[in-house]
Amino acid sequence: MKKLINKPEDVVREELEGIALAHANLVKVHYAPDFIVRADGPIKGKVGVISGGGSGHEPMHGGFVGMGMLDAACPGAVFTSPTPDQMLEATKAVNGGVGVLHIVKNYTGDIMNFDMAAELARAEGIEVESVVTDDDVAVKNSTWTAGRRGVGVTVLAEKLCGAAAEQKRSLKEVADVCRKAKNFGRSMGMALTSCTVPHAGKPTFDLPEDQMEIGIGIHGEPGRTRMPLKSADEITEMLMEPIISDIPYKAGDEVLMFVNGLGGTPLIELYIVYRKAYEIASKHGLKVVRNLVGPYMTSLEMAGTSITLLKMDADMLKLWDAPVKTPGLRWGI
């Protein structure tokens, strides 16, 4: 295992210490239970927006705490959903008196832990709404299974909901924005290499030099199929076609296109993917009106990419363009 870490059990705490030192002007870090909050919160009369999940996806979620995005993020152990006490304390810490939105990625662990936290918070008199993102088209949607995973749409939903909350919209309205993102967004990912969970010490799976995994999630779980390595253009097509045919998007739709790096893939390759993804979207008559290209939702040092499309309307465009000031995403201020 080749990583810039000390002891595996210290990875998350030391990372949080680094974030606290690097971004003291934007965020504060609380330990035991661990959570990151806006330095200037809680804000009276503003809906609190919270997310969380296992660590190893940086900058998601801690890097998205700040003005115009999240009020708090709860980091679990690497690839392990955080515990209810973290979310409960974070919920209390960001409560501005008008309710708190929990943005939850659809994983059994995340759902159960967030549910427990929401129950506990409600018992303490805080209004909580939870919206579950489940945008990964590599997984078949079904009420008989755990359903689709929550991936790239989560980042976009956090930005949109953060902006909506900043406008002092009501909890229901902010949650509606999240539901729109959930309904209008789809993603799919692939990996060129596995990642290594620090305490596991070796790659989660072995992937021969000439093979890749298609339909990968963000926790090193193997994908849906393993197949021979292909060109960037072919890979991009294998990700884009299932996305576009899923909702399905219609010609003329305006979309935000998010080409995400999984941690070990550099920007130069992501732009090559973006170029082809844009071409495919255009061929289907989709208008790419906004974009995001970079490693915003990683899977430790995994090499690979995921693509997310989000159909935009006028309100979502305004929310996307609104100022945001976080360690991981910043513009307009």
């Binding site: 152990a77 690497v78 690839f79 059994t108 427990m116 755990a146």
Partner: protein, 209 residues
Amino acid sequence: MPIPRDDVVAWIKAVAEMISENSSYLTQLDSDIGDADHGANMDRGFKAVIKKLPEVEDKDIGTIFKSVGMTLISTVGGAGGPLYGTWFLQAGMKTAGKMELTPADWSEALEAALNGIVMRGKAEPGDKTMVDALTPAVAALKQAVQANQPLNTALELSAEAAKKGMEATIPLVARKGRASYLGERSAGHQDPGATSSYLMLRVAADTWK
């Protein structure tokens, strides 16, 4: 012969030790069809349980179980945390105030634990989860206890039923939890949660024999 409170505490300690010894094994199983953290998660949780134990080990069994449940919930995370937390919380409710467990008490506690897990996780037998190990174990225990079998026989029967249930997860295609994302590719691998559940019952049979 009922199980005295101190033997229950001894079982919890033995489970913690067993989890620690099997941490890499459980994580390896979770690498194959999950995210390579089940062993580390459970180990972190039971290490916290052991730390917390001195504060409650002179209390009644219900209090001890509830403390274990709360500790697991606040330290394990993932799917395992709420599920095993629920296990002990539910078992704790059934055993509130008790300073020893009759075989029937233990059978009822385990059944309550299973029901709690099913309520939380909505998994059915055959979904390739810990429910596949616990369901036959609860049935075997109940039957043995109703048939007035001696405790150690009953515990052996439940552990062996859990083992069979665990092994039976191998060919299954997962429908719940993280392994479900793999679809057909999840077949051919043993479920990590079913494995940790079996191991806990195995340790019970060994500790209380």
